[in-house]
């Protein structure tokens, strides 16, 4: 079973390409407000996560996700 930290590590590495401003990443980093992802980039990032873990992330959860940590928790829940 992958733990929370491993999810975080994957999200950090998956964000490398899209983190054009090289914002330091931690679990409190906001995907839109801090990294500056556009809505299209958020969807591309989500697809990367979905394919890696072979899960589908419902659109419904996205309004509750602002930070990398919040996303890691949701992905962990979905992947159980």
């Amino acid at each position: 079973m992958t733990d929370y930290q491993e999810y975080l590590e994957f999200l950090y590495s998956a964000l490398k390409e899209q983190n054009k401003k090289n914002v330091p990443l931690n679990e409190h980093t906001a995907l839109v407000a801090d990294i500056g992802l556009s809505s299209l980039e958020v969807m591309e990032f989500i697809e990367k996560i979905e394919d890696h873990f072979d899960i589908s992330i419902p659109l419904n959860i996205l309004p509750d996700v602002n930070t990398i940590g919040e996303l890691a928790k949701k992905v962990k829940e979905l992947n159980l």
Binding site: L40, M43, E47, S56, L59, N60
Partner: protein, 400 residues
């Protein structure tokens, strides 16, 4: 502040006003025919109206509307569930069901209400919806209201749909898949044979929006599902009367008798007034005409092909195949606005499309073709784009 979130839009409107351009809500001051009008003071060819079969100005439809207004009055003043179900509405439901060869139909007051209403009602909490990523705003609005789990699959990608159906496991058999026939912005046709094959493999239900394909595709004009030979796989077809049928309103047809129970659960159907009898009458007449005049579809596709080939020859960035919707890809917002204005001033009205209405981050000049366009009108549209190219305003593909 409550209004802060509208500031970006207010700034954009101010920019448009300063540039003296009105791409959104341009006022049509006069309609001269199905394909010509006076828009913002310019006499133009209408190439952005979705009037695919040219029936909005058909004398038979106008006469039917006039007679219905004289007989039934100007409006029903009520919901279909109260005083708003006239014999005309019931007759249209019987006729649209018959057109599709099924027994069940609901007529809505708008196409938006039909799509949004069905998508918000069919699935609910505990259910799962898989929708194409480039779905129309009415579909997104509906699924968000539904309370169901919403999963997007990549636009027109049956493999991605299959992957997501597999991930659902036992739930796939109850999933609602949503796709469109012709997509409204780029004019691409969905790979429905492959989507239907995924549904056959994993189960589930398929709702298909034929808003832009009804009348345009299929041997009798029933749309993309008929064209692809997969009508038996479609559980719910939704569509509109405001494009090929030249009026306004929407519908859902289904082989499932349960549609009659669903009718009484759709708030977008219950809590709004029904269509005016004149609207219903002209729609009935238009439906009869498209059944009897298949040559309109032939003319539509001849015109679509002529416009597509003409724009392609100029090097304009168009899609991979001809379609009643021919979108020209532009590079940025300012350039798209300049070109839209130049086209209007040279006598061609098209649609300006910018994100988020366009898929991805595209800026588009969206042309819609009509069976009623003459060859000369199509050539004049191409000539207007050629002028844009000569002025260095039209981005062209590398090979041109």
């Amino acid at each position: 502040m409550l209004f802060d979130k509208f500031q970006t839009m207010a700034d954009f409107q101010a920019e448009l006003a300063e540039r003296q351009v009105t791409p959104f809500g341009a006022v049509t001051e006069e309609i001269l025919s199905a394909t010509e009008g006076i828009v913002e003071g310019h006499r133009v060819i209408l190439a952005g109206t979705n009037n695919y079969l040219g029936l909005s100005y058909d004398p038979r439809c106008i006469k039917a509307a006039q007679e219905a207004a004289a007989r039934w009055g100007t409006g029903t003043t009520g919901s279909r569930l109260a005083n708003g179900s006239f014999a005309e509405h019931q007759a249209l439901e019987t006729e649209i069901a018959g057109f599709y060869g099924v027994d069940n139909a609901i007529v809505f007051s708008t196409g938006y209400a039909a799509t949004m209403g069905m998508c918000s009602t069919l699935a609910g909490p505990g259910d799962v919806i898989l929708l194409d990523a480039d779905s129309h705003a009415s579909i997104y609005a509906g699924v968000r209201l539904s309370g169901a789990e919403i999963i997007r699959f990549k636009h027109s990608d049956p493999d991605d749909l299959a992957k997501r159906m597999r991930r659902l496991g036992d739930r796939a058999g109850q999933a609602l898949i949503i796709a469109e026939g012709i997509y409204s912005m780029l004019g691409d046709v969905a790979p429905l044979k492959e989507i239907a094959a995924v549904k056959r493999e994993y189960g589930g239900y398929l709702l298909l929006d034929e808003a832009h394909s009804m009348g345009a595709l299929g041997s009798s004009g029933r749309g993309a599902a008929q064209d692809a030979g997969i009508e038996a796989d479609v559980d719910f077809t939704v569509g509109t009367f405001s494009k090929s049928l030249g009026s306004i309103g929407g519908f859902c047809i289904s082989p499932h008798a349960e549609l009659e129970a669903i009718r009484f659960c759709i708030t977008a159907y219950i809590f709004t007034a029904s269509s005016s009898p004149s609207i219903i009458a002209s729609t009935r007449e238009a439906l009869r005409i498209i059944g009897e005049e298949p040559e309109r579809r032939t003319r539509l596709w001849d015109n679509a092909d002529r416009l597509y080939q003409g724009l392609k020859a100029l090097g304009a960035k168009v899609g991979p195949t001809a379609s009643p919707v021919v979108a020209v890809e532009m590079e940025d917002r300012s350039q798209t606005i300049d070109c839209w204005k130049a086209l209007l001033e040279s006598g061609v009205y098209v649609n300006l499309v910018i994100p988020p209405a366009s898929p991805s981050t595209n800026f588009l000049l969206r042309n819609s073709v009509s069976a009623a366009h003459s060859t000369e009108q199509i050539d004049r549209i191409v000539a207007a784009y050629a002028s844009l190219k000569d002025a260095g305003l039209l981005p062209t593909s590398r090979e041109s």
